[in-house]
């Protein structure tokens, strides 16, 4: 039986091995739009979740809020910081989804969870293709950035959707690699 630990190792191995770089930059916004749409569907599905949807222990999730005034400044001065923030947040989410998958019994939701997990992995690849520095997840499981705690799967996936719509999307759409390509 696949445990969370094994999943973690797998995910780490994936992220380590990954695809050979350099990748061609993935700048098409429709790629992320599709992921956002699927995340929204998963969030809507979680509203009907009845069993095992309340978590035993709260899970750490990234902050999703974006203050454009601050963000624009940060985009100019510290672009790498934003990438780090996004990548660590994705990692946290992946962790949380793996944890949730264990506790949920419904098979339909399992497929959605697996889909979300693979989407997160794909987004990581997209970020890597845009020549952002590689993210190494912390060995101890804690991240430097601020986190939030959620206690239900619905909240988790709400955060998941907001994170993709907000920070991830801003990062990708304002990536320098894409800006150089398009005029």
């Amino acid at each position: 039986m696949l445990q969370a630990k094994h999943l973690k190792i797998l995910l780490l191995a994936w992220t380590r091995l990954g695809l050979p770089s350099p990748l061609r930059p993935i700048c098409d916004p429709r790629v992320l739009d599709r992921f956002i749409k699927e995340a929204r569907d998963t969030e809507f599905a979680m509203r009907s979740c009845s069993e095992g949807c309340s978590l035993a222990e709260p899970l750490s999730v990234p902050l999703t809020s974006v203050d454009f005034a601050i963000w624009e400044k940060g985009d100019v001065s510290e672009p790498q910081k934003q990438a780090q923030e996004v990548q660590s947040g994705l990692w946290l989410l992946a962790q949380a989804i793996s944890a949730v998958r264990v506790s949920i019994t419904s098979t339909a939701l399992h497929s959605l969870l697996d889909n979300s997990h693979s989407n997160i992995h794909s987004i990581g690849q997209v970020i890597r293709s845009l020549n952002f520095p590689e993210y190494t997840p912390p060995a101890d499981g804690t991240v430097h950035e601020d986190t939030w705690r959620v206690s239900s799967t619905l909240e988790l996936f709400r955060v998941h959707t907001n994170f993709l719509r907000g920070k991830v999307r801003l990062l990708l759409s304002h990536a320098p690699a894409c800006r150089r390509d398009s005029t």
Binding site: S65, V66, F68, W148, R165, G166, L170, S173
Partner: protein, 607 residues
Amino acid sequence: MNPRSPPPTGSVSVECGKLQYSSHNWRGTQQRAVMCVCVCVCERERERETYLPRRRALCGGCGGSRALDSGGRCVCFSGTMSPVRALRRCVFLLLVCVRSVCALDSKASLLVAVEPEDPKCFAEGMRDLTCFWEEEGSRSPDDYAFTYMYQETNEESSKCALTAQSVGGSKTRYICRLPSVQHFVPLDVSVFQDGRLIYNRNLLIDHVFLLDPPANVTVTQTGEQEQLRVCWLPPALMDMENSMMYEVEYAPTGSHMGKRESVRARSEIILHSLQPDTRYNIRVRAKPDGLSYSGYWTAWAPWVSMTTPPAEMDLLILALCVVISLILILLSLTLLLSYRRFLLKKVWPVIPSPENKFDGLFSVYGGNFHEWLGVGNRGFWWSPTFLLVEESPSPLEVLSEAGFTAPVPVHPMPFKALGLSKKEVEEDERTGGQDSVLMGRRKGKAHPHWVLEQLQSLDQPSVPCCELHTLEPSDTYVSLNYRSQQDSGAMSPLADISEESLPLQVLFESPGTPTSFSDLESVTYSSGSGEISSQSSLEYPYGAWPLKGPSYISMTVTDSGISTDYSHMSWGTTGLGDLAMAYTNEYKNKVPAPRLPPHGHTVYSYY
């Protein structure tokens, strides 16, 4: 009254008192006077001339009555004079109105209709949020408390400063403008009235966008038929350009049936299938597409008009039509020409001509049947008595049964001629009947009673059949042998004609000049074909002639018309052309060939 024109006679100069405006307790009511004018006092109260507010004015005729000398009067109008009041208010608004206030008014009214929850919040840009609610009465905003809190922060909820605005008379609108906002995170909003919670709402700021309408909407012709291009500017917000969807409404001027088209992520659209040469009104509105950002439809942009290009006749189509019509005309002409004979026949039917039955009747004798029968000698034959006696003019069947003595050797005649002639004989029998008194022509008119003699002779008891085989040269009989009569001189024209034309000439010569049967055998005619027929006719009495009554007189005559069919008519070229021409008037179908073919073709080939 036009100030420039000279005052009409009888006009009175009046002076209104001090003209007073605003803050005037007019007629004891609290209404504020909006406009005061100087008015003439006329004899009749109703007829009043009003002037623009001037203290001094010329008072002309009051309609019909006379202006009084007592002077003008100042008349003030109250606020119920709506156009003026509206104008003043608008001026005030223009001067005082701050952009946000004005915009808020329109947007608030838009939102009130769409959003059911309170407080109603909307974001106009990426860094603001405006929340408001409307209530009856006019309470001070201090009675209310507006608190908000973001989900991800552990801080206490923040408070927002409220401003009040009177709306539509009795209502008051309380507005909160957040100084800074955070997107992609739930916001919790609460409204308290006198410490009591009245509204609570949880919303995402990036889901409540209500932007300005698209700016700079331009409509141009594309150069194609029935098309117009509509362009506009997308909202100048960061990150929003790719997340917008637009709706374009267009309708012909004056029509109320507008059509709508949706556009995503592009800020121009080409409208298709429009009516040509029509003026269209077009307007646009926008909304975030709902994926990353969401919100409400903006207000409609102002109408923009443009006329579609007029419908033009495509040159290619015109050329094609011309070519096709030309082709059709050519085809019809070709058909007409190729079938003109057929068509002429249908339109002008052929009048059958008996020309081919009577050889030479028309060509040689010019239609004179008498001459044709016997060169003028047999005129009597057509005397009425004969006509009465005989019923049908054609096939003559005359058989003389009186005293055939000299047997005539039976010649092996060409069978076809025989066969044919047999047919003719039968025909003759049918038609001839008992009339067969036509004895052919007779030479001259010297024997008018010749026929009577014959009749009498036939009354005698019939001769047994066998005895009929003999023919006496002395008896009258019809034979086609006119050899003795052959006169090269006189007959030369006739020689060219078929012998049928003169079949009976021989027979009616004087008995003194009988023709010998021996001549029959060697009958030769200039027209060789006649030989056949003539000889065949002679066969009849010796052959299979059916027996008839003794009173039956039948004369063997081969009708020229019948036997002509298989005989070659060798037409000489002498005079035929002229003769042929003579009949062109009668027989239109006849080929009016001025020159007949040189080698004796049958002329009448068109039957």
